[in-house]
């Protein structure tokens, strides 16, 4: 103890310097908007870039698997091509189509950071606000729903994955269109989710697809998983069922961010309505 005191008094200038310098810098960073923002931003960029580098390396290791996945997806898309359908109607004249207006567009992105073993799991994507990604957009991949964008910087975006205690997605049973809410299950199993608040009239079967409903921010009918257990827990007036997730979150590589072009309009209208009701 005494030696410590002697040490401190001997180098008092240095310790005083540290104390006052830290005070000044704390004041400086807290009260100067630009430095505050850029300090945090810079650290984010650095962290993001590091993840990017490491991920570039990992990509080599999983190239084969990605190839398989892409080939599968290609096959799936090819089967949806117009050319692979037999068109039985004969078009007589061309009409400038103003009936259909594109509502959803997709931005492809790569997952550069991912976790599945926490209570609150987030993903980081390698695209951000510059590519048109904004807070609140949905994220899907070839096999199903991944999550919702919660934060964006210029070049990166963080996504709250389905494996998050606060993730709630409006879902329905594909066969009967009975709506419910999809959440992660309680025991933090990354393969299992729960479809709750389904009305008692529904008659679900094992293996039924659970998909996004028309009330969610995703396009209707994106896969969430298959029903694996009909009686997860007694839910009073509602049915709760266990769902095996369609997406394997530990192997996510490429995802698509869903840009709902009419979302702003819808949110604005609903907010207006709510305001009027409040008054």
């Amino acid at each position: 103890m005494r030696n410590l005191l002697i040490f401190i008094t001997k180098y008092s200038a240095f310790f005083l310097f540290l104390i006052f310098e830290v005070i000044s810098l704390v004041i400086f960073i807290n009260y100067n908007g630009f430095q505050k923002a850029s300090f945090i931003n810079t650290s984010n960029e650095v962290v993001g870039n590091l993840y990017n580098r490491v991920n570039d390396f990992y990509d080599y290791l999983s190239l084969k698997q990605i190839n398989d996945n892409l080939a599968q997806e290609n096959a799936k898309l090819r089967s949806q091509l117009r050319a692979s359908y037999y068109i039985d109607s004969v078009s007589k004249h061309s009409v400038n189509d103003t009936v259909y207006k594109q509502q959803y567009s997709y931005i492809d992105a790569r997952v550069i950071n991912n976790s599945t073993n926490k209570r609150l799991n987030y993903l980081t994507l390698n695209k951000g606000a510059k590519e048109g990604i904004a807070k609140g957009m949905g994220v899907i991949c070839a096999t199903g729903v991944v999550g919702v964008v919660v934060k964006t910087s210029d070049h990166f975006a963080t996504v709250r994955s389905l494996l998050h205690k606060d993730s709630r997605i409006s879902a329905m049973l594909a066969s009967s269109r009975e709506g419910g809410t999809f959440t992660w299950n309680d025991d933090l199993n990354p393969f299992m989710g729960i479809l709750s608040e389904v009305s008692n009239n529904a008659q679900p079967h094992l293996g039924d697809w659970v998909v996004t409903s028309q009330y969610s921010l995703f396009p209707m009918g994106i896969h969430l998983g298959r029903v694996s257990n009909l009686h997860a827990k007694a839910g009073g007036f509602f049915l709760n069922m266990e769902v095996r997730m369609a997406v394997d979150f530990s192997k996510l590589e490429y995802v698509y961010v869903v840009d709902n072009k009419l979302a702003q309009e819808q949110i604005g209208l609903e907010a207006q309505q709510k305001q009027e009701k409040d008054e």
């Binding site: 310097f17 006052f20 310098e21 005070i23 000044s24 810098l25 400086f28 009260y31 430095q35």
Partner: protein, 171 residues
Amino acid sequence: MNRIIIANFVRFVVLIFIQVFLLKNVTVYGLSTPYLYILFVMLLPFETPNILLFLLSFLIGISVDAFYDTPGLHAAATVLLAFVRVLFISVTVQKESFDTEPQPTMGSMGFRWFLTYATLLTLFHHFLLFNLEVFRFSEIQYTLSRFLLSSLFTIFLLLVSGLLFFRKKRI
């Protein structure tokens, strides 16, 4: 003793006034701005206790900040300046070799010592000041040229003030 305290107090106030009402408006080609207020820290007597030295540096820094609307910026730079001052003096000054009580002025320590002292301290102060203010690497060229030209200007003013007020008293 009282005389030293009063002299330093007056210097504190006068230097802040000069800095914020005169030198704040002086800029050569938008590159060179002098920060003369650091003269206050340079001229504090040798026997100032460290805690007081750092406290006064912090105070004058934060006072200038108050006028420049940059809380903490000048304070950080001036505290660094005080630290460099402590190091520099511990390396270059042996108190035993003086017959009278020495002061860190040009008159007492000689032109060469004062020039090195002022140059080194100013460079450290301005380097931190300009880099903290800009706070990004992409403008490093502009920042460095501002840093060098402003340092030149400040050192020039420091030497002029030294020649004006602290010349060797001849009997």
